[in-house]
Amino acid sequence: MSNQRQASSASQVPHLSPAELSYLYTSLSLPKNPIRPDGRSPTQFRPLSAETTILPGTNGSARIGFADGTQAIVGVKAEVEKTVLAADTLDSRSLAQHGDALNREGEQGSAAVSGQGEWVQMSIEIPGFRDDDALPVFLSEMMRESLVGSVAGGNGDAVKEMAGGLKGRLVINKRWHWRLYIDVLLLSQPLAYPLPLLSLTTHLALLSTKLPKLKSTGEEDPFFDDDWAAAEYLYPRSNISKSLSAAPSYPVRPPVTLLVISVGDNVIFDPNREEIAVADAVLAISVTRSGDSETLKLLSIRSIDPPSRLTQPGIPNSENVNMLGATAAPGEETGGQEEVEGVWRPRRGGVKRSVIARMVKTVLGKGGVGEEVLEGLEGVEVQ
């Protein structure tokens, strides 16, 4: 049971004493410039190495390793599938091409053009967890919802292709679609909450994903070019020039999910395990670049149960039986409710609106963390 609870919370609780927790909390909540245990600035990410297209048998794949040794591999496979139309998706809109004899039976199929979220399947494997444990299920749903939820705005040819987001891209025609299997494999024990690692790896894997080039047109049964070199990227690129120096630009990119914590009034990115243990609030923020506009778009915010609530509280000297009589009178009832300087108390209650607002702003703002991350990812050479 306790294992279950741990799994659902942000991470296993590190074995820190209440005093250590209290110290950590105090240094992270220093106004203006918090001191992180590894000396990073609040918005600084841990160094990582990345490569793409590492699994030849997949449609797209990526590997990211953090410097602390955690590594994740993501493989994306695509499969052609017949679109089954549920009765309630019937729609009178007719997108049928005129005069195509093959469309006669396809009247009911117009609704399918919009694509369905369940066409993207994600499975996450974390060592030590069953695939139906809460952590993998929760993580995959968190990443999947932002993936299928992102819908591109703006215009331009490439964007048009992505109209309807990833879901729309998976539509081949009214009767056929691609089904995407995203398999995420965490290679090491989750030292910290693995969400950012997995999200970044998935992002890269999707960028490198290619689908075979469609040769048939319209409502025909799909028929593909057998030359893999002719395959097209799932997320189209705008500058096709293959000069290696110029990084390709993506009008539409898959979303990234960032983990942000607040400690006191401070907002801290890419927290490690110890930092999460003392966080007031843990948020998973999914963002994406929307269309050709410069601004980032917020896709979702999920709060994650911070493990700090589960930690053992520290006991102020006033209550410590060992110290009994040394500091306070025994009859004095503090009730353990009050904050005592230097004594760890599990967090309770909510987070201030202003803090949440600042967290979001730091991610979305111009020159903010979100942009920085996306730029960093763009720097990874995707083949």
Partner: protein
């Protein structure tokens, strides 16, 4: 964030591993990315006898032998490459010139690249198989070089490089690698002088240019061939290259035919059921009419006109779309002959071409008129148009050049287009570019179709070779064999090597201890005899009957034990399985097995001991079968009778010896068996066969050799026991091999097949044809008798036979037991067991039966592998079904040709006396068209089309020559009643009854049969002409 790609350049092994990535779409609709890793090696030899290095590195097999090197150390030279050369063709060169590469006069020492072979397989499977056959045969010295696996010659595809460019680069790389490799490794002393040039043959201009840049010798196919001896003939063998066709298309761009649907559209439609797939069958009477039998409908769909048949050629597997109902038509009631309709087309000028010429359009219009007729027979039927071709079944066609198409300057050496008229009337004319028009005129020539583009009314092909002068025996026989795809080349050495080393001296071992006697019964004491057609050399079967002590009889059928001599999977077995059957022509027999076996060692010749496979029954005097038994045996036939001889001996009361008595017993039983079979509903079918019995005397009238098959009691004696043996063996084999037994079935024909015939019979003779079961059909056929016309019944039987499906071999697992039925024989199960010398199926059944009875063979372990896998068996069934049909057709065509020649010989003799009067015979009207009838002449077993001009009207002058008669055609008019099946022919303006001729279906007419030379049309072509002289 930084990207950290692992750097593999430092790894020395990395260069040896590469991968090939492609997308595979499976039939079930899956689309997979396939990655194949390639491990490159350095021990793939160049296989040149010049090389001193490769023999040391070439990989050896388990016995330590390395494959012999193929490429000659002294390859042939040409003027351009005097020191000899090896050829490296690219894919296009092979696509355009496979016939050249097969030519025995040139193209030796060819390096076939793996890259090219694989590309060829994707482009054309038949060509791929032909190339593989070339690589396998030793004499042409084709070496398959696995360039993709050799490190030095492997080419990695660059970014943005197309597959074609990459493959071209691979070809160039191999050429330059071979050059430098041979330079380095050529044996000392041979150096300098005799390093052969490596010549790339490519038709790709860009590739030629790059070859030049990279200093690789390269020539286009036509340039190379021009430098060879006899280049004119060779040049004709190049297919019209794609480039030339492309150029033509852009130049003119006028398209005659609609485009085919894309493959994906076809599969979508087929799955959705809006399109249908089937084999394109052209009507033998009307080249503009075809039918496609599809799985979805009971009756075939009609395809009318060139537009709708959209470049499909008889035999192609096509996809059709049903036309709207207002375009439905009834099948044509007219005879339309391509030769006649399009006689004046010019192969060179295409400007005036329309897909449907006016004359053709007129022919079609008249059919539309018919569609509005009110009779039940002619009610409009669903029509369809071809929208795609799944598989072409183009083959090589035999024909002759249309002399009209050669143009005026036929003498020049200039390349010109000519039309080839194929022998098979269902194949359209083929446009052939040739430089030797004048030479091949008047010859039987072999051509192949290369393509049929949208901008051309006729398919384009190229010349392969000439078979010889038209109408010479050799050319015509070869033409026939080619046309029916009969393997007629002599048996290769590998096959002959499988024969027993003793040759004709082989004998059944004397000592019973010999392993040859293992599992064999000694039946040498039985009074066995064989009954066959006169002059039969390959005696498959022999019989005996004797009284048993218990009052029952023992009857035995003894079949030549061919499986003893033909072991599974040796070259002889493979050759036999390809040939499938022995083909009998009038003057020639194309054996399935080498002569030694067929006519001697296996043949159950009289007076000598032979191995046999015996079926023995115990039969009560009432012909009830008590038990049956199968055994391998040794027999000694007492006598080989012909049917007549046997009949005479049985009838001769003075003959009372045991052998004759046993034959009488057999005859008695056979009659009972036959009656039982008839009671069960077996059909007595008729085929219009005649036999040719040439006594070899040149002086006599050759026509006397043409004999209709006489049915003696002894014929049916043999037949009944063979049927019994086949049925008994069939059930035994099926019992043991429920999945893999090789059986023969004759599907129950769908009743709608008989509709036309039923209509005709009830209209003309008021007779009913009950097709509800084979029994009912047999009975109603018996009732179709016209007392005034004894042949009428046979005629109906012939027509009924044509309504049925043909019997086929199959593998037991392919059908449910209820579908095993043999409709014609009314037997629930059937197989072929009794003629293993001339049919491969029987040989297979022998093996299965041997295994079923636990016969262990000479060496103690029976080998039936190759009989036990269903897939392989189904392949064999498919092949022997085709071969069987082809053999029948070839045999018939051969007789037809013989009859024609006999008539011609007779005609010439008569002509010497004055006038060629032809020969008067009886004929019967088989079909009535609007502009002619089809007449069957039983005397010669031929049927022929009689056109308007060939009706001799009363009071007409006796003009008989073809040209004269043709003049008559435009002056004639007809009155056709499609409901009554009558045709009245009269002269325009002379409607008087006395001056017209009326013919009707099934009518007996007097005809005049002669062989005439076609004038004005194809040179020297002959046909059998039938003149109706008296209705």
């Amino acid at each position: 964030m930084k990207s950290l790609r692992r750097d593999l350049s430092a790894n020395p092994q990395a260069a040896n591993v590469t991968s090939k990535v492609f997308v595979r779409s499976t039939k079930s609709g899956k689309v997979q990315k396939i990655v194949r890793e390639l491990y490159l090696r350095e021990d793939i030899p160049c296989s040149s006898k010049l090389c001193s290095q490769c023999p040391t590195i070439a990989p050896a097999d388990a016995n330590g032998n390395i494959a012999p090197f193929i490429l000659s150390d002294r390859p042939a030279g040409t003027t351009a490459f005097p020191r000899g050369h090896y050829l490296v063709p690219d894919t296009n060169a092979l696509l355009n010139g496979m016939d050249l590469f097969e030519h025995t006069g040139a193209f030796y020492d060819v390096i076939v690249l793996q890259t090219v072979l694989e590309e060829l397989r994707n482009r054309s499977l038949p060509l791929y198989n032909r190339l593989l056959a070339l690589v396998k045969s030793d004499e042409k010295r084709f070496y398959l070089f696995f360039n993709e696996f050799r490190r030095e010659t492997h080419v990695r595809r660059g970014p943005e490089e197309t597959i074609n460019d990459r493959n071209d680069r691979a070809v160039r790389l191999v050429a330059s690698w071979y050059g430098s490799h041979l330079q380095q490794s050529a044996k000392k002393g041979k150096k300098e002088k005799s390093i052969p040039a490596i010549v790339v043959i490519t038709d790709d201009k860009e590739n030629l240019r790059k070859c030049k840049e990279e200093n690789v010798a390269a020539l286009s196919l036509s340039d190379y061939v021009s430098g060879l001896e006899g280049s004119e003939m060779l040049l004709d063998m190049i297919s019209e290259s794609k480039d030339a066709r492309d150029a033509k298309e852009t130049a003119r761009g006028e398209l005659f035919y609609p485009e085919y649907f894309s493959m994906s559209k076809l599969t979508t439609g087929l799955r959705a059921g809006t399109l249908h797939q089937g084999v394109f069958n052209v009507s033998p009477y009307n080249y503009l009419e075809a039918s496609v039998k599809t799985a979805a409908f009971d009756k075939p769909l009609l395809i009318l006109g060139r537009d709708n048949s959209n470049r499909a050629i008889a035999g192609d597997s096509v996809v059709v779309e049903v036309l709207p109902k207002d375009q439905w038509k009834s099948p044509s009631t007219k005879i339309v002959d391509e030769e006649a309709v399009t006689r004046n087309d010019n192969p060179d000028t295409e400007e005036t071409e329309a897909v449907v010429t006016d004359r053709e359009r007129k022919a079609l219009q008249e059919e539309v008129k018919k569609a509005h007729g009110k009779n039940s027979d002619g009610k409009p039927q669903p029509t369809a148009k071809v929208v795609g071709v799944i598989k072409r079944s183009w083959r090589q066609y035999v024909g002759h050049v249309d002399s009209n198409s050669t143009g005026s300057q036929a003498s020049g050496r200039r390349q010109q287009n000519v039309f080839l008229l194929p022998m098979d009337k269902r194949i359209p004319k083929i446009r052939v570019r040739t430089r030797q028009a004048s030479e091949i005129l008047g010859q039987r020539i072999l051509v192949t179709i290369d393509s049929w583009d949208r901008d051309s009314r006729y398919p384009t092909g190229h010349f392969i070779r000439s078979l010889g002068e038209l109408e010479t025996k050799g050319a015509e026989t070869e033409a026939l064999l080619l046309e029916y795809d009969v393997q007629y080349k002599p048996f290769p050495k590998s096959v002959l090597d499988c024969l027993p080393s003793e040759g004709h001296d082989w004998k059944v071992p004397v000592s019973k201890e010999d392993k040859g006697w293992n599992g064999r019964k000694d039946l040498r004491d039985l009074l066995i005899c064989s009954i066959d057609p006169p002059g039969c050399q390959d005696i498959d079967d022999a019989l005996h009957a004797r009284l048993l002590p218990n009052g029952n009889f023992e009857v035995g059928v003894h079949i030549a034990d061919v499986s003893h001599f033909v072991k599974p999977n040796n070259p002889m077995d493979l050759e036999a399985s390809v040939r499938g059957t022995t083909v009998y022509l009038v003057d020639k027999r194309i054996d399935m097995l080498p002569h030694l076996l067929g006519t001697d060692l296996c043949s159950l010749k009289p007076y000598v001991e032979r191995y046999a496979f015996s079926v023995l029954w115990e039969i009560t005097p009432d012909a009830e079968i008590v038990s049956s038994n199968f055994t391998k045996s040794v027999i000694r036939s007492r006598e080989a009778f012909s049917y007549e001889q046997a009949q005479l001996r049985i009838d001769d009361k003075s003959q009372q010896d045991e052998l004759t008595q046993s034959m009488r017993t057999l005859l008695k039983f056979s009659k009972v068996l036959r009656q039982k079979r008839m009671d069960a509903g077996a059909l007595n079918l008729a085929s219009p066969e005649v036999r040719i019995e040439s006594e070899g005397d040149e002086v006599g009238d050759p026509l006397t050799d043409v004999k209709t098959k006489a049915m003696l009691d002894t014929n049916s004696l043999v037949e009944e026991f063979m049927l019994l043996a086949n049925i008994t063996v069939g059930s035994k084999v099926y019992e043991s091999f429920s999945q893999t037994a090789l059986l023969r079935r004759h599907a129950t024909p769908p009743p709608q097949n008989f509709e036309d015939l039923q209509n005709q019979l009830s209209k003309k003779r008021n007779m009913e044809l009950d097709v509800s079961s084979s029994r009912a059909l047999a009975d109603s056929l018996d009732r179709c008798v016209d007392p005034k016309n004894p042949f009428f019944n046979t005629l109906v039987r012939i027509l009924a036979t044509r309504c049925m499906t043909s019997a086929e071999y199959f593998c037991a697992g392919a059908f449910t037991e209820s579908e095993f039925r043999h409709y014609g024989l009314a037997s629930p199960i059937y197989t072929h067991f009794t003629s293993p010398i001339r049919r491969y199926a029987d040989l297979m059944v022998h093996r299965q039966l041997a295994s079923a009875i636990g016969y262990e063979g000479e060496d103690g372990h029976a080998v039936i592998e190759g009989v036990s896998t269903r897939n392989k068996l189904e392949d064999i069934c498919r092949n022997i079904n085709v071969r069987h049909r082809n053999a029948q057709h070839a045999g018939r065509a051969s007789i037809e040709y013989y009859v024609g020649q006999a008539l011609k010989a007779r005609g010439e003799k008569m002509a010497a006396d004055g006038v060629d009067a032809g020969i008067e015979e009886e004929g019967y009207v088989m079909r009535v068209f609007e502009n002619g009838v089809v007449i069957f002449v039983p005397r010669f077993g031929i049927e022929g089309v009689v056109r308007l001009e060939d009706f001799v009207l009363p009071g007409e002058s006796g003009a008989r020559s073809v040209a004269e008669r043709r003049e008559l055609a435009p002056h004639r008019t007809t009155e056709f009643d499609s409901e009554e099946y009558t045709l009245r022919v009269e002269e325009k303006g002379h409607p008087e009854k006395e001056r017209s001729v009326t013919v009707e279906l099934f009518q007996k007419v007097r005809v005049n049969v002669s062989s005439v030379k076609e004038e004005g049309r194809g040179a020297g072509k002959r046909r059998v002409r039938i003149l109706v002289t008296e209705a």
